[in-house]
Amino acid sequence: MGWAIALHGGAGDIPKDLPPELREPREACLRYCLKMGIDALKAQKSPLDVVELVVRELENNPYFNAGRGSVLTSNGIVEMEACIMDGITKNCGAVSGLTTVVNAISLARLVMEKTPHIYLAFEGAEAFAREQGVETMDSSHFITPRNIERLKQAKEANKVQVDYNTRPIPKDDKPPAPSGDSQLGTVGCVAVDSYGHLATATSTGGLVNKMVGRIGDTPIIGAGTYANKLCAVSATGQGEAIIRATVARDVAALMEYKGLSLKEAADYVIEESAPRGTTGLIAVSATGEVTMPFNTTGMFRACATEDGHSELAIW
């Protein structure tokens, strides 16, 4: 028993020779966010508050695919989405298609707390953001030179497969990521306090060169994000694969219906349900355990538990 926290900055085909100028700022951010989360848990903040504040920080960091630093749609803009869920009540909030909201995760929380709905998207979500007076910036604020470059590379790689009007694209044939980290997706945080209360939060810019209006796994309860009384889960990777495999819900379902432990359930989902190379997840249990499996080359991640264990890794 005791508190536990885990956070991620995306799973994907992260090359082992990732240059220091790309690796170090992300490691530093993970380290900083982990400390923020630990301090908040020690200060008795609720897990819901903890996951929100950690994800806000990750969103603000331009090196991760969320908030500022989000990857770009095929039209060269950002469309951000996020989701938050409270394990005890199973209350949740989700947003998609945001273009000006600085912290999508906080808007998701407001949907949960200030509307009779769970999920608001696109213009309706932006209108709600204005009503609520959350911080917004012109959409150019979120676009970074690295992402403009990533989009360019993705378009070049896709040239041979571009006309999906005339023939279906085989779902499992994804074009190889040119720079090695253009498949990077999502940030997330899961936390449990010493009373066993759980919460999860996930936020993302989505898939580079995605079609305008494309929604991924992040805002879909049970796919990229899920929490109940047993565990809290945040997934990352190839959105379409995570949706089909209902990844986050399945970790909890395996614990509940098959009596598996957190680690067994998470490993099962990563190894058996989700195709190789598509998925990573972080999860904590009500009893203070933590696990961070992935079937991709790497996943930016960090975790800590009350008994002093802590970890930060990429591969």
Binding site: T115, H117, K258
Partner: protein, 334 residues
């Protein structure tokens, strides 16, 4: 055991005072939907094609297509958002391979379920929404209509009623004691999605099928919630919530969207079959009983063994079921 099976639903949460003729009309529509599906199954159409076909036929907003049929010349159009606009959504899932497609925020596409199918078959993604989805629809050359095709006098009137009811009851999480003097709640103390049942109209249709090869599929389509906030997405387009199909079963849900999302209802029926090894009816009963803490909903399901089942914890659900051995039933109440 074995053989094909089909179930359809036309929404959960029915006014106990629904006039007898309306009940009869509804049952006839459900019967026709079943017959369309049964014919298709007898011609060996795969499950994924059958669910799409039936939902296209059944959608309340496509009822205008049946203008030549004297029974259905009161096309109701779609639910309207608080702004009086239309935002329809749908999803479809093929249990064989668990491929899926979904759309939200649709206002000019005549058959959202078919657009969801195209997302599944012709795009690299699983879910498209709002202007991006409409743009994809144009590229795919699907049938588009003017926005006001879906806006009917009936629905404009219903929006007005919903707004009046909601000014008293905006937050349905707040207990409604002390409102006995309110005319709406005196007539019908039952509530669904925040509205008195006399005002509420189910907006969702769904179909689940297992074909002769044992392949399951599911499809759900809706106008959403009357007087919903613009941009509100419910359970119908969310895989695992309103719709799910896998190797063992196909499921389509309807009712209070937020409760269905929290309960990941459709996925849970399948998960309970996979992980607890419950049979179809037991799985359906389990999920309805245990996964809807504060909410009202219903669902239909088929298994790869040719079984069909349904369940609901609210006041009625329009549904019909049929299996290859000749069983056929339509119903509204318990």
């Amino acid at each position: 055991m074995g053989g094909w099976a089909i179930a359809v639903h036309g929404g959960a949460g029915v006014d106990p005072n629904l006039p007898a003729e309306r009940q009869e009309e509804a049952k006839q529509l459900l019967t026709r939907c079943l017959n369309i599906g049964i014919s298709a199954l007898r011609s060996s159409l795969p499950a994924i094609d059958v669910v799409e076909l039936v939902v296209r036929y059944h959608s309340p907003f496509s009822v205008r297509e049946l203008e030549s049929d004297p029974l259905f010349n009161s096309g109701r159009g779609s639910a309207l958002t608080a702004n009086g606009t239309v935002e329809m959504e749908a999803s479809i899932m093929d249990g064989d391979g668990r491929r899926c497609g979904a759309v939200s925020g649709i206002s000019t596409v005549k058959n959202p379920i078919s657009l969801a199918r195209l997302v599944m078959d012709k795009s690299p993604h699983s879910y498209l929404a709002f202007s991006g989805a409409e743009e994809f629809a144009k590229q795919q050359g699907v049938e588009m209509v003017d926005n006001d095709y879906f806006i009917t006098e009936d629905n404009v009137g219903m929006l007005k009623l919903a707004k009046e009811a909601n000014t008293i009851l905006y937050d349905y999480r707040i207990p409604i004691t002390g409102l006995e003097s309110c005319a709406a709640s005196v007539e019908s103390p039952i509530h669904m999605n925040g509205l008195p049942i006399s005002v509420y109209a189910p907006e969702t249709v769904g179909c689940v099928v297992v074909d002769g090869q044992g392949r399951c599929a599911a499809a759900t389509s809706t106008g959403g919630l009357m007087n919903k906030m613009t941009g509100r997405i419910g359970d119908s387009p969310l895989i695992g919530a309103g719709t799910y199909a896998g190797e063992l079963c196909g499921v389509s849900c309807t009712g209070e969207g937020e409760a269905i999302i929290r309960g990941t209802l459709a996925r849970d029926v399948a998960a309970v079959m996979e992980y607890k090894e419950l049979g179809l009816q037991d799985a359906v009963d389990y999920v309805i009983k245990k996964r809807l803490d504060k909410g009202f909903a219903g669902l239909i399901a088929v298994s790869n063994k040719g079984e069909v089942a349904y369940g609901f914890n609210c006041n009625g659900m329009f549904r019909g079921c049929a299996t290859e051995d000749g069983f056929m039933e339509v119903g509204i109440w318990e």
